[in-house]
Symmetry: D3
Subunit: 188 residues, 6 copies
């Protein structure tokens, strides 16, 4: 799994990065990848993946987020995509724990002090699994009905350092999952 942390520019997320081969088309990265970048979030309705959100006419917006776009080409299944998503979220909670921040994970959502820190979606394309995770840097520009919080408000000021630590943690987690899957014999 290749990890790219984009530091030299901001990239806004409008939902289109969830399409297959986004990392290859934009950065020339072949195969399993995590791209971490920072930018606004404003998901266009036609790019929304969560039908529950579509049915509820939800808006998905934030002025400043750290984004993770993960693509995994191993045999695609929505169940695996959803399981990996929850595992990545749990790992991010562990990374936040290293900052002595107490989190509460509810499926694919991260809460700190009952405030929502993150958004996430996981799905499949016909050739891959795609996961987006967004973490608020500041709780600005977020739909008013969401009680949100951002990294800066919980004490993480060095966003670049957090992008590196968390990106590397997600990469290491996936590689552990993969490695362990190769060292076990099958059972009857």
């Amino acid at each position: 799994m290749e990890l790219l942390i984009v530091k030299d520019k901001r990239i806004d997320y409008d939902g289109s990065a969830i399409k297959s081969h986004w990392a290859y088309r934009n950065f020339g990265i072949l195969g399993n990848s995590i791209v971490v970048f920072r930018g606004r979030c404003d998901v266009k309705v036609e790019e929304m993946i969560d039908i529950e959100d579509l049915r509820a006419n939800k808006e998905i917006k934030s002025d400043d987020m750290v984004h993770y776009i993960i693509e995994i080409f191993d045999f695609p299944s929505v169940l695996l995509a959803s399981a990996l998503q929850k595992l990545f979220i749990a790992k991010l909670c562990e990374v936040l724990g290293n900052y002595d921040i107490k989190t509460f994970r509810k499926g694919d959502d991260i809460y700190v002090n009952n405030k929502k820190l993150s958004i996430s979606i996981a799905t499949v394309s016909p050739v891959s699994m795609k996961i987006h995770i967004g973490i608020n840097v500041e709780a600005k520009g977020i739909p008013v009905d969401v009680n949100a919080v951002g990294l800066k408000e919980i004490g993480i000021k060095n966003i670049e350092k957090f992008m590196e630590e968390s990106g590397n943690a997600l990469k290491a987690e996936f590689e552990k999952v993969k490695k362990d899957s190769l060292k076990v014999r099958w059972t009857e």
Copy 2:
């Protein structure tokens, strides 16, 4: 996913419960299941799944453990088995966190104060995925080269209550993974 918590008897784990349909053969439970039980652990060499352990001639033993045997029949893959295993371990850490116990997860191992609390393996049969997790109740009967700890030593005295809480937590986690996998549209 059906959850069975065996309270009326002890069941020793010798590794054979990792075979497919163990829950159906022994308890009549069809389909996805978690069986939680308590008993000794002494894995016979011929039942060992982890080839790394086999190569290292490791012993897998404990006098008293809480065991989780999980079987999932959705399309079997070692990668999904390994991802779900890590997610279940992360969930158990969160359950322990509710007891104000600080854990460190290293892949599929749980540590408390640098001492090993658990063992785990995940693999596939030709029809299902199988995961075993064992948590020491007391750090007794464990190979001497392992610096181990048990639930009682970290303050969890009511083992039955822990079996119920943790069993329900794992079941809820899987059902959330499954539900989320069904509510997303695919992407291009």
Copy 3:
């Protein structure tokens, strides 16, 4: 598998209900489902799934039909979709047999007295299998080259009762298929 029988309104079928997640988008039903409803049938060319029909410039029309839209998320394959479709059609013939109606099944078509009672298609989306079955209530508005018949003409007057009986029969059939798949050990 969830069964919804729509009784409070008519829904016309233009072919678009064959798309994935139609039941979730329209009725909030997650996962495997059968939706039974009544309405006109006029399949738009751009929604036609059967390339044989497209090549033959066939029209698919009827003024009044009972429709079944089935979606199954277990690992999608066109072969399984096609096998389940034939099984559902056979089941519908058995339901009609309970009314002492003698049917002739030809693959996915039901005939009564050499007249065509039904239409059907089965295919996959990237995340699910989708089956449509339509049964004429009356043989009206059907392309003139089709020698058709409807439920009312073969003695079934209580259409709502038939919708319930047949919907429940299809649901029970699928659940039997699923249950049996979980209780067998694999063979060498």
Copy 4:
């Protein structure tokens, strides 16, 4: 799909024919196949596939049966094996209907006048799907707790002709399932 109807000899069924490649090992038939033969039935416990039967200590016996051993190499899944099994059973009921015999299908069992005519099992090997269907020729040598009936008792005297008709009907059914799976475009 190749069809072989063994007429020149009797073959007893002890359950071992359910293993993969049985038709290739014994008759040189490569790929998808149906082998129809006649002989006793006495399934050894170690060959039993249905864990429900194993749990109930059931005996599976009959002095004289028509047997169908079906192997399908298209992507193996227990769900597809189970769906095809039910479809083949439904087809056999239709064949019996052509003899004006009224049948009642209950999943994978055929009943005539509330008496059990058949046994069946469907499962997977790591490379294929395997289905066994057995139809009593006469209700002899069957466990006493089973209220059974045979082909001869319901008026089918020409067993060879029935073997041919039914074998060809199953083959045609599978080929229709396969053909239809190839002529449909996928849906969104």
Copy 5:
């Protein structure tokens, strides 16, 4: 696998033949197929499959090519599509070897005397694998930065005969691959 060699007309290749069911829509060929035809090549940008080419703004053009469009419905995977593509290219090199032409295969490209003879792409649709191979008849109308060669320049004058020989060779190769996959037992 069905083989169609189109001799009575020229068909230009603009990339759209890479879509699923092209052979069925255009020639009524169901299932696995190879269609061999001759015509210009000018792949429209919106039909380009190779993202590497898209990123490099490559043009894919030739005035006169022999084209092979292969579709295989056995369980689709990009890895299998890519492996079969390379095997088909190796087979074409062997066919050229029968003309005493010395080729150099570089993945999915054929070179003769360091000049490029062919283009190729392999991918999946949601229901099938699709491969296109194009072999220059003459090195005309090819992007100037490509050092190309054509069949006529290396001594193959009878293009129809080559279309037949090579088409039959590819069909035989696939059928050997398929047959061998059916005659092996699985291993532990």
Copy 6:
């Protein structure tokens, strides 16, 4: 894909190396691998994979061979195993061509001057694909009904160098197959 060329010792091939995880159990190599070694060949009947050979009571023997054991964990299918096997054989013919040796490939067999140079088998385990290729070093100890030839007889004296060249060529071929599978968008 990891490549190991065993130079410091001979390893005899009795067929058991075809089992899954052989490279990990014996050399600690995790994941996709090619192990190249030299030794006798005498396949025990119980390890034979090719049922055609079993049916013909063939012996598989040679006094001195270069062996390739390839294991690939990407989604196992017998069709992909068989396709990769033919591609690897074609690649070995190309390597031999670099020595100016003219070969004739017949599926998975290599002939030089109508004499058989190699043996090969490809199959699946429940977790991987396994391929064995054996190339005679000298045509000794081979069943008398086989008209065989060895590397030394066709002019390749430096066996270690050939093991390295061919091992690297197979590894490069697989990596090209894999890489190309990741850089193409899917088609409709």
